[in-house]
Symmetry: C2
Subunit: 187 residues, 2 copies
């Protein structure tokens, strides 16, 4: 479909024929795959895009669900901005979690997420090399609960693989029902 | 505006000329008021509505942000279904919280919400008399972060006033920037 929409509220990740990011891999890790697209364009709220879109994934940055004060302070201190010139590699990892996960109480989810899976601590180890931004899609009725966007220099690709592999080994990841691993390079 | 939309994902609370609930009060508690409407129609996802709408507020039930396991168990055990025949009184209370609230870490918000403001404990005291359902609008880019819907019998109106007054006295409520108090009776 050719798309011309004014984008409001959410950030739109558009798999298309044009875009600043070239899609070099698009692998279904778990569940249904995502159709092939050559390029990705990231469209921020309030802007417009005209593209032949294969898919559109939406998410909002939102507020933090599990991060405690001390962790928040450390994350803020160590997180770089997106768009660094040397960060010409990127990844978009859309995931959805199971109903069992979403029925857990807040303290049970936190316990699995951080005390047992070290999600925040693991991410921190790769800062500032691997910049990261989380977008929430669940309340929007999107097919993916979360879209995580990563940016890093090509020489940090090995570190990034390590980070992704560690997270996939965790107890938290047992609740992931669908996951796509999209890798990109700046076009 | 006359509206005919297929409703998807979110529950829509439509201030209109028709609807099963008659609006008997529509008071701005804090911030900008909401325009006058005679009736309210609650439109669930997947259905259609045709109405002269004055306003439309959207929200999704979503998952729990602060509730711990023991609290969740107690809430589930004591919460009645909506739509009880004797519950002919209702309230819709849309609120938005400040940027300062949303920038707090998860543990800081929980601390204010429950340890210091007793939001869950207070609500529990009025169960099962006052049935309650929370809808989230923040990630949807809605004007209100939350829409809370309450249903109760007319003879429980005094108890309901008590509950609302207690919450408004809390530290949590200092973060509320906009609040509307809409009261309804079954038409």
């Amino acid at each position: 479909m050719t798309l011309e929409v004014r984008i409001e509220g959410a950030t739109h990740f558009v798999g298309a024929d044009v875009g600043t990011w070239r899609i070099v891999r698009n692998d279904p890790v778990r569940g249904e795959p995502l159709r092939h697209a050559d390029r990705l364009v990231v469209v921020e709220p309030g802007s417009r895009v005209r593209a032949a879109a294969t898919w559109i994934l939406r998410g909002v940055p939102s507020y933090e669900r599990y991060v405690r004060r001390a962790e928040q302070r450390e994350l803020l201190a160590r997180s770089p901005e997106l768009g660094r010139l040397h960060a010409t590699s990127a990844a978009l990892i859309p995931i959805s979690k199971s109903t069992a996960w979403w029925r857990l109480a807040q303290d049970e989810r936190r316990e699995i997420f951080e005390e047992r899976s070290r999600h925040i601590a693991t991410g921190l180890k790769y800062l500032p090399a691997v910049a990261r931004r989380l977008y929430h899609g669940r309340d929007l009725g999107e097919p993916f609960d979360f879209l995580t966007w990563f940016e890093f220099a090509p020489q940090d690709a090995v570190a990034f693989e390590e980070l992704v592999a560690m997270l996939r080994e965790t107890e938290e990841w047992a609740f992931v029902e669908r996951e796509i691993d999209i890798r990109l390079t700046k076009a």
